[in-house]
């Protein structure tokens, strides 16, 4: 007998998949919102393909954020790298505070329309939570544990790989989760520069004054974010069940 939380998860996943694969079945639900004979379900593209490329863009950008943010986090917590902390923090915070729309506008002249400017914007936007959590995670490793690790003859590298990173992992994953979820939403902006994604549905709705489209794009994106959030949280619990520090 699965637990209620699992049932809810499966229900949400089933709903999302059903909507993306056979959207026409949901037409009666959205019909009241489509005014004056407008189509109740988005008909200018395949929702399933849009959702997949939306997800692919977010995951690719996130992978880039993880590599750079974790590497930076490791660098600034080493004995020789502390002087880079203020600079790294400034760069990463700038990535978060500079509006993604502005990044898109600036990136298009450089790299053209399509996926690339969106990837850049999401990559920059996702750095901060991962970086900050990596730094905190590495900094809060208990001093006695680190002392014992050195005392037993671990090299700096062995200490990092087999003690510090595993102990920081719960926080790093939390940062990744945050960054993923924010970017699932933010990625809808990419459709303004012709990246394939669920933002297209929302924009089409705005242009044709069709609330049904806007709602469909919003709901699909939202469901995707919730499911992804939940999946990473489950991974976090699984990996970190025992890394409890008393």
């Amino acid at each position: 007998m699965p637990r209620p939380a699992t049932l809810l998860r499966l229900a949400a996943l089933g709903l999302l998949l059903a909507f993306l694969l056979v959207p026409q079945r949901f037409a009666p639900l959205f019909a009241p919102l489509a005014a004056g004979g407008a189509p109740p379900i988005y008909d200018q593209g395949n929702l399933w393909m849009l959702a997949l490329s939306h997800l692919a863009t977010v995951l690719a950008a996130c992978l880039g954020s993880i590599v750079i943010a974790v590497a930076l986090g490791i660098l600034v917590t080493r004995a020789g790298g502390q002087e880079f902390l203020p600079l790294s923090r400034a760069v990463v915070s700038f990535g978060q505070t500079f509006p993604p729309v502005a990044v898109l506008a600036l990136a298009v002249p450089l790299v053209g329309f399509g996926e690339k400017p969106t990837l850049i914007a999401l990559f920059l936007y996702g750095l901060l939570p991962i970086f900050e959590n990596t730094v905190v995670g590495l900094r809060t490793c208990p001093a006695t544990v680190l002392d014992a690790a050195s005392g037993m003859g671990m090299s700096a590298r062995q200490k990092l790989v087999s003690v510090e990173l595993p102990l920081a992992m719960p926080l790093i994953l939390e940062g990744i989760r945050l960054s993923l979820v924010i970017n699932i939403g933010t990625a809808t902006l990419g459709s303004t520069v012709a990246a394939k994604g669920l933002g297209e549905v929302i924009i089409a709705g705005l242009l044709s004054n069709n609330t049904a489209f806007v709602l469909q794009g919003g709901l699909a994106t939202g469901l995707m974010a919730v499911l992804l959030y939940d999946a990473v949280a489950a991974l976090e619990r699984r990996l970190c069940r025992n890394a409890r520090i008393d």
Partner: protein
Amino acid sequence: MIVIENLTKRYGETMAVDAVSMVIERNSIAVIVGTSGSGKSTLLRMINRLIEPTGGRVLLDGRDTGSEPGYQLRRRIGYVIQGHGLFPHRTVAENIGTVPRLLAWEEDRIRARTAQLLEALQLDPAVYSGKYPHQLSGGQQQRVGVARALAAEPAVLLMDEPFGALDPIIREKAQDDLLDIQRKFGTTIVLVTHDIDEAFRLGDRVAVMSEGRLLQYDRPEVLVTRPANPLVARMTGSAERAMRLLSLTTAGEAALPLTAGESGADAIVVPTSASLREVLSELLWRGSECATVADANGAPLGRLTVAAILARARPA
């Protein structure tokens, strides 16, 4: 054998350790005592080069410890700290196997050694191997810490206030276990504490430190009977020095031979391992004049009288 020569550590203006020289014999326990900030930990951590000395050197079995990379040296030296420092994300068995794994031992050998150590420390391997540190009591965590330090069969074990976090009863048990382990594995131990009773209980020799300097390094009874200076006398507790002296001798060592005609049938029977302090206390409590010293089977070996005990409470 560990030879420490003129070992010095300076932090800016502070001399954390100031030209300390001492020799620690093989298979013995040296205890370093001193007030907080006297440089005990710094001295200890210079032996395995967790701290690089400003001056002087350490010889381990005749070899300068500075002649190999620090991490390699540390794999040959056990290290136990207060609060154990166990890896929270690793099981008891994985914690204990840390150094053998760094040294690329075969898995079978690691498993066998882990089981042997857990048994030596009275932790059933079947029960405890797979547990995580947070599932153990403080005393058990501390024992796993000791097992981990001994895993790769180091000739030397460094311990920095290893029992500091334990309550008095468990601490006494841990001290007994350590003495057993030391006899069993023949390890040379250097232990830091600020508990003078612990120092006297465990140390073959006790080093007294103050402000980075080594004031005296000698057998416990010498520290009591001939303190090098008033500070050592104060630290070893001049008010209780007679009792302390008694606590350093066992009933077995002090027992008078049974003379012909004596049955050895005193009302009070004490084991050979009891300290004279304990025997005297028992005699005073029971209002008795003499006790029989018996071996583990209860066979009388000798006797002790109050007068004979009191004679040992003064410097010879």
